[in-house]
Amino acid sequence: MAAIVSVVSSTPNAAAASSLSKEKMKLGSCNFNSLLWQGKRPSFATPKSLSKVTMSVATNVSRFESITMAPPDPILGVSEAFKADTHEMKLNLGVGAYRTEDLQPYVLNVVKKAENLMLESGENKEYLPIEGLVAFNKATAELLFGADNSVIQQQRVATVQGLSGTGSLRLAAALIERYFPGAKVLISSPTWGNHKNIFNDAKVPWSEYRYYDPKTVGLDFDGMISDIKAAPEGSFVLLHGCAHNPTGIDPTPEQWVKIADVIEEKNHIPFFDVAYQGFASGSLDEDASSVRLFASRGMELLVAQSYSKNLGLYAERIGAINVVCSSADAATRVKSQLKRLARPMYSNPPVHGARIVANVVGNPVLFNEWKEEMKMMAGRIKSVRQKLYDSICAKDKTGKDWSYILKQIGMFSFTGLNKAQSDNMTNKWHVYMTKDGRISLAGLSSAKCEYLADAIIDSFYNVS
């Protein structure tokens, strides 16, 4: 049963070789005679040269010996650490995945229904076109812009199904690298940790614009506008459509107008990351208002979408990249180039998640049910946000203003804790979160708000 490894790999001379021809080699579950030296010898292996030829991988050292162990992903690595923790009070506020009040993962009812429908209708599993499921692309663009939006009516949107938000951002980054050489992407400080990795790997330069003001635990609006203005003309400005990750701090509608003004002024290109449409406020339309504002001004823009959170389809990797162009012709051309970038990356996208979305959005009954489930999820998060705030205020008698927790929106809250304080949260309190002070409220139950409040207060005041 044993594979004869060493014998095969280290016979430099003909004498030893001829004895080998009598050996049997067994590989897997198939037997066959050694055919090493039977029959015609390859012309390069004359007896003289044989002794110089090393048949083995020379020194048995790996070609990958010098590779170092990469550090764990700062966000996804949190869940891994949480799993390893055996403490009974442990709390996972790391990755942004919705949990029920019982802290269980949640598969939406509409998703289960859609999957059942798909199974009943006996769909096949043929390759999707490179650009993805046509019905999904139509539905996703209409959901984002509104079906009656002129960008849709005029066919000015190039929509390509992508691998959730990450994959859609990566396709856009690849497009930027190829067609806007040297153009920079401006990203908020802070932003989702993976944004930088995506642009680095796509070889797109980036720089930061001020966003978070630690003094107010709010938006540094003047800094933001100033930095966008100072950037070279024609830069791409990465904006979070709603529910900024990690801070939860969004511009007000008036601030969005001013942001659009300065972007237009500098001929910058807005690039939205929309991962929480419907999940932030509970309303799909409201959460798309920033994108729609920019579109209504006739600007060309990019929008990456994800259905990970709002349809709970995390693992199915379903999203889209939308490029709004000034003409239908430009949209056609851009779409064809996005396809050209997708083909050598994964050929065509996965069908399952796309069909679920298309079935839910395309069926009025399911679509309404979805809106209800989304309101429920957003509602639960808002209520734990309130409860956390109330718990903290009840325990903290210093009069510190914690209202920023209430003003923030979406899955996350930027607690204002620094790295050392965040470490204390984990080490002392077994509360798992990212080092930037971000907690995922989606992972918080109202039952645990008191405990979390204690942890935050302890970390804030007793650790520096």
Partner: protein, 405 residues
Amino acid sequence: MSSVFANVVRAPEDPILGVTVAYHKDQSPNKLNLGVGAYRTEEGKPLVLNVVKKAEQMLVNDQSRVKEYLPIVGLADFNKLSAKLIFGADSPAIQENRVATVQCLSGTGSLRVGGEFLARHYHEHTVYIPQPTWGNHPKIFTLAGLSVKTYRYYNPETRGLDFEGMLEDLGSAPLGAIVLLHACAHNPTGVDPTIEQWEQIRQLMRSKSLLPFFDSAYQGFASGSLDADAQSVRIFVADGGECLAAQSYAKNMGLYGERVGALSIVCKTADVASKVESQLKLVIRPMYSSPPLHGASIVAAILKDGDLYNEWTLELKAMADRIISMRQELFNALQAKETPGDWSHIVKQIGMFTFTGLNSEQVTFMTNEYHIYLTSDGRISMAGLSSRTVPHLADAIHAAVTGKA
């Protein structure tokens, strides 16, 4: 209004997938799609395997099933089972924990992730690909950051393997260069080395420290036997050396659209394998964060269940057998028509495709006059043929070859 996209030109359709696009536009009732390699039944319909339907029903019925993010490396069970499938359950490399396996987006995704990994961590940045090869190979590796060279492979005169040329070209490659090898059922030619030839290739490659990168898209689908179709890979792993292997379940499990595959890197030591895995995660995270769940769950369910696995092997064999019988029927039809030329390569070649030897003018003729869709290199997908359509194809080939253009 001026556009920032003014300089973006319209890209042509993908040469392979574009064939299906053109086919769909054709209104003729006689049209035949022999372009993309997707299996069709005798009735010309796509096929969802029975085991896949069963597995899917099980998954959908499982109330405890969730849709949480997979780890960056994908579904653990799927990874282990995939490595066993290609390397053999008793492979020492697996038992010694020397294999880093990550779930990827079918074959394409596995090749891309492997290519990116090598571009970052391997000292040699040239990959040698066979001439010809699947049209997407050079694009994948180029975008991954590698430079691409070719080695002789197909001999148009014999319509078989140019073995001497292959050995010469590999022999003159720089030490340590990466070499792409089709594990079985070479695409587009259907021409595979014999096991004896594989052994010589192995020895040559090891003597020059060339790094094998296997593309295994047809395991089980080529000969009907999962083990036989993995022999080329297994003889390399058996000698204790390192290699990469990209696996796809698109064809052998009919999971095309679900994008299920795996990249395995066989390393010298478990320690190296563990570091390699950690670095693969850094390639994957900024590309798509983590892979899709559905297809991998189906594969894992089938591979881990003895009954489903056995059923699968039977369905797989049936698909392979149907293709082999189409080869015979086409060959017989051309013999009966006394079409000029030696058509024996149709039955000698293996796998989904036949490299007909037709040139691009003849291909265009067949498309325009007979509404037969194939890639311009003369490759036809036997999986798209049926007993009913063989005569039509034979007519078209006959007309193209006898110059009725």
